[in-house]
Amino acid sequence: MKKLMSLLGTLALAFALVLPVSADGHDGDAMVRVLHASPDAPAVDVYVNGEVAVEGAEFKALTDYLTLPAGDYNVEIKPAGDAETVVVAADLSLEAGKFYTAAAIGQLENIEIAAMEDDSNFEDGKSKVRVAHFAPDAPAVDVAPKGGDPLFSNLEFKAVSDYGTLDAGTYDLEVRPAGATDVVKALDGVALEGGKNYTAFAIGLLEGEPAFEVLLAADGGEMAGAPETGQGGLAQPASMNWLLAAAVLGAAAAGFYVFRRKQQDA
C-alpha cells in the first residue's frame, strides 16, 4: 500500500503498446490532466511540446483530461502570461488508452513534476482509491477510518499510494502522522460511488498558507468514439431522392419484365 509510485521527471514506460487506430482515432490517444499543487507558486500556464495547453491554473486547480496522441511529450510549466520563463519541465511518455495526472508539486524553489498513471478499470459496486501526499511540509502520514487501522500507511511527501479497493459507501476518514493516533485532518462523510476510482490529493501547508487540505478527484473514464448520428436523409437534395426512387422503380420494373420473360420462356 505504501509503495512509492511518484515517478519524478521522466516517466519511463518501457512497454509502449502500438495499438491499431480505430476509424475515429481514439484508440491511439492518451489522456492527461494537470494539477497545480505547489503552494507558493503563482498561477501558471502549461505548455505541451511548446504549445499552450492550460492557461491560468492557480494552486489547487485540477484540469480536465486532455486527449493527446500516444507518444513522448515535453511538458513545461511557466508563470501565467510569461512565455519566456520555464518554472519546471519534464518529459512524459504517454501510452495509448491510458490516463495520467501530472502534478506540479513542492515549494517553488524545489518545484518538480510528479507524473502518475490513473486507474481506468472500474469494478461494479466498488471504489478504487489512492492517496497522493503533495503537502511539502507535512510529515509521513497514515490515512485511516476514524479510530481504525490505516488503509494507507506511512506515505511521505511525494508518495502516491497504490489503489486500494473499498466497497462503495460513505466513510469517515482521518489523516494522522504515521504511526500516531492524533489527527492532522478529519475527513467526515467521504462518499465513494461504486464503479468509480478516485485519487485523494493532500496539498497545501500544515504551517502557513495555503492551508493543508485534501482534494478528491474521480480518475479515468470509459472512453468511446464519437457516435454515428446520421443516415444522410438531410444531406441529399430532394430531387436526388426522387432520382434514386425512380432508379429503384426502374430496376424493379426491369426485373419484373425479365422475370415475366423467363416464365414465358419456360
Binding site: 486547480a61 486532455l66 467526515d188 478528491l216 473514464g221 454515428e228 448520428t229 446520421g230 443516415q231 444522410g232
Partner: protein, 184 residues
Amino acid sequence: MAAKVDAPDEEFRLPTVGFAEPLVLASTEVSRQSFHRETFIPERLLIPSLDVDAIIEPVGKDRLDRMDTPDDVNAVGWYQYGARAGAIGNVVLSGHLDDLQGPAIFSELATLQLGETVTLRRNEQVARYEVVSLERYRTEDVPLASIFAATQSERLQLITCAGPYDPEHGYRDRIIVTAKLIRN
C-alpha cells in the same frame, strides 16, 4: 440546418483544456459530492427552444467502440458509463441529425443559443442545464477526453452529426453542445 460554426480544416492543434473548482474534502464541503445529491438516470430530454421533448434510452458502445445511439431516431441515447443527471462528471447524450428520409430528433441542435436551458427529467426529478458552448469538429478531432473522461465539472454534452455526408463514412463532422448544471 447548417451549423453556425465551422470545423477548422487544419492539422492537429492542441486544444486548451478547462478546469473546474476542485472538490475539497472537508466536513463542510462533502455535500458537494455526487453521492449526497439527487442524481438520476434521465428518461426525458426537454429543449424548449427547439421543441425537443424526447425519450432517453441508456446506450453503451457499438461494434466500432463508439458511443451508441438509439435505433429510434426520435429517441436520445444516454451514455451509461458516464455521469447520471445532476452528478459531477459528464452526462453524455447522442441523437440523430436525420434518418434516411429527413430530420430526426437533433436536426436543429446546431441552432441552439448560448444561455438556453436544457432539462433532464425522470418523473419528479429534474436537472436543468445552461448551454455554455456549441462547437463543431471533424469527427476525428472531437475532444473525446472532455466528453467521456472524469471531470470535476457538472456538465451535459449533446452530440449529433453535421457537415457533408458520405454514404460510406457518414457525416464528416460532429456538433458538441456543452451545458453546465444550474444549481438550485
